[in-house]
């Protein structure tokens, strides 16, 4: 099995550890799990990768990779895969990982599935897996019949592999293919999002979202304070992003982002179907709304009917108290 590394700010991202954990659990005791890193030189990140529970690491580092997107790296990854000949390649279900998945499926001629939430232990015959579809409103059981498979896993679904005390051996290779093919897209800048301090919306294990019930852009700080106390990402209903109170990158729903955290807290959000499709697959949903009849309470696990301006600051204080800060 192969797990492809992804670094951010030079550090290994958590979903890669989850992918290593899945490789271990579906491969059984005898399986070899090889880590592949293709990217800019990153001795610290590659070192971290080598201690993440792998048997071996192959790293192809090159400065120009820093400015390319995943499609440029895909050729180098595919070349390594042809040589390493694994049965399954596991990718983190981040934007990079998912962009890579479709490309690798063609370049390495493999079956592919993304957003995977369960994989049966490998056995002779097709690979069996499960994935949510329709924004988590249904679950699909899928079979990949071919000899090779690329799987991108849904983040925060699987337990991460335990780090190993000893580092796996790292084999460093010089790039053999052009790192920036002619005409390839290049990165020219990066702006950390407004919520750059907290975790990313699509990946966060807790999301706190505010809706029109918050009433003004200034009041939205109440929602953000709760999110901060929980280490959560901030989301919003479209009523909030349309009004320009917060950027549209925070919008959750049919025309925004789909999220499925462990905990989703909806504050002053009525629960329109277009909002629900983006968050209903969250594991636990909490709703705070002054209207006890609001549709959001039909999908929530826990509800508090009442005024958010009183309830949310009290909740923030309580969270800070029990978390000791």
């Amino acid at each position: 099995m192969v797990v492809v590394a992804e670094l951010r700010d030079g550090r290994l991202v958590e979903p890669v550890r989850e992918a290593i954990g899945v490789a271990r659990s579906i491969g059984g005791a005898g399986a070899t799990v090889i880590g592949v890193y293709v990217g800019p030189p990153a001795s610290e990140g590659v070192g971290e990768f080598s201690r993440a529970g792998l048997d071996r690491v192959v790293a192809v580092e090159g400065e120009p990779f820093a400015r390319t997107t995943s499609s440029a790296r895909a050729r180098t990854v595919a070349e390594l895969l042809r040589e390493l000949a694994p049965r399954v390649v596991l990718l983190a279900g981040t934007s990079e990982g998912r962009d890579l998945a479709g490309r690798l499926a063609v370049e390495w001629e493999a079956g592919v599935a993304t957003n995977v939430t369960a994989v049966e232990p490998l056995a002779p015959g097709p690979i069996q897996l499960t994935r949510p579809i329709f924004g988590g409103r249904a679950t699909q059981g899928l079979e990949l019949p071919g000899e090779r498979a690329v799987l991108a896993l849904r983040p925060h679904t699987f337990p991460p592999a335990a780090a190993s005390a000893d580092a796996a051996p790292v084999e460093r290779r010089a790039p053999t293919l052009p790192q920036v093919p002619v005409g390839a897209p290049t990165m020219t800048g990066f702006t950390a999002s407004a919520t750059g301090r907290g975790p990313d919306l699509a990946e966060a294990s807790i999301v706190v979202s505010g809706g029109r019930g918050v009433k003004t852009p200034e009041n939205f700080a109440i929602v953000e304070a709760l999110a901060e106390s929980l280490g959560a990402a901030v989301g919003a209903s479209r009523a909030v992003t349309d009004a320009g109170w917060r950027p549209s990158s925070l919008q959750v729903g049919q025309t925004g982002k789909s999220v499925s955290p462990q905990l989703y807290i909806a504050i002053g959000i009525s629960g329109a179907i277009q909002h629900l499709v983006g968050m209903v697959s969250s594991r636990v949903i909490v709703a705070i709304n002054s209207d006890a009849q609001a549709p959001i309470f039909k999908v929530a696990d826990y509800g508090i009917a009442g005024d958010l301006f009183q309830l949310v600051p009290a909740l923030t204080a309580e969270v800070r108290r029990v978390r000791g800060r």
Partner: protein
Amino acid sequence: MEIVVAVKPVPEAETRLRPDASHASLDPEGVKFVLAGYDESAVEQALLLKESTVGSRVRVLSFGPAPRTEEVLRAAVALGCDSATWVEHPSDLLPDAVLSARCIATAIAGPFSGLVLCGRQSGDEEGGIFAGALGALLKVPSLGYATNLRWKEPRGQLTLQRSIEGGLEEVESSLPLVVGLQQAWNDPRTAKLPNILKSRKAAIEKIPWEATVATLGPHAIPGTVRRTFRLPPPRTGAKMIRYDSPQDAAAQLVRLLREEAKVFP
């Protein structure tokens, strides 16, 4: 600029999902299939680029069964796409994103030097696979999660942003390129009635399945098999917390999240 948009007909958001008789897939009976979600963004982005770049045309393509595919293509024509190609597939086939990309690549045909826009993931199975697969097949770069595409005429460069973990990435690229669109507008245009009427009579190029099979040969089969389609147990409604004061409500909720739901760190 040559702009191609790939769209997939998907059930409208309000659809009540039901498994079919085999319990392997969605029952399409009575379901309304529409142009939706990220594909709507892709069409809107294509039209904005066309309007701002003299001499460009938008061709919309879709691989799917009758009648939904033709309907969605007509909807895209009504919005302003210049030509439409329907890559037909037999209704009993359940294709996946890679097969879709192969079929669309066949229909694009020849060395491609323009821009392909598609959704960053489809509104039904949400694979996010198509853009990368199509890019690899056409042998051109691809990227997803894109918003805000601009064409810089003098240098022949495309600029865009990618809404990814932790922030917004700025990207510059030349053509050819395949781009998967993240939502960028909350209000993509709606078609005007005269255009809807005109679109009903618009000529739609149709590529019969036999022709696609002849080109694809052994690749004309899906790489995945759908086994089950399950609905989660219906949510039974929230446990409502009764409280004396906001502090009491907060304390109860935190305790429930910790001890009962076990989600609280």
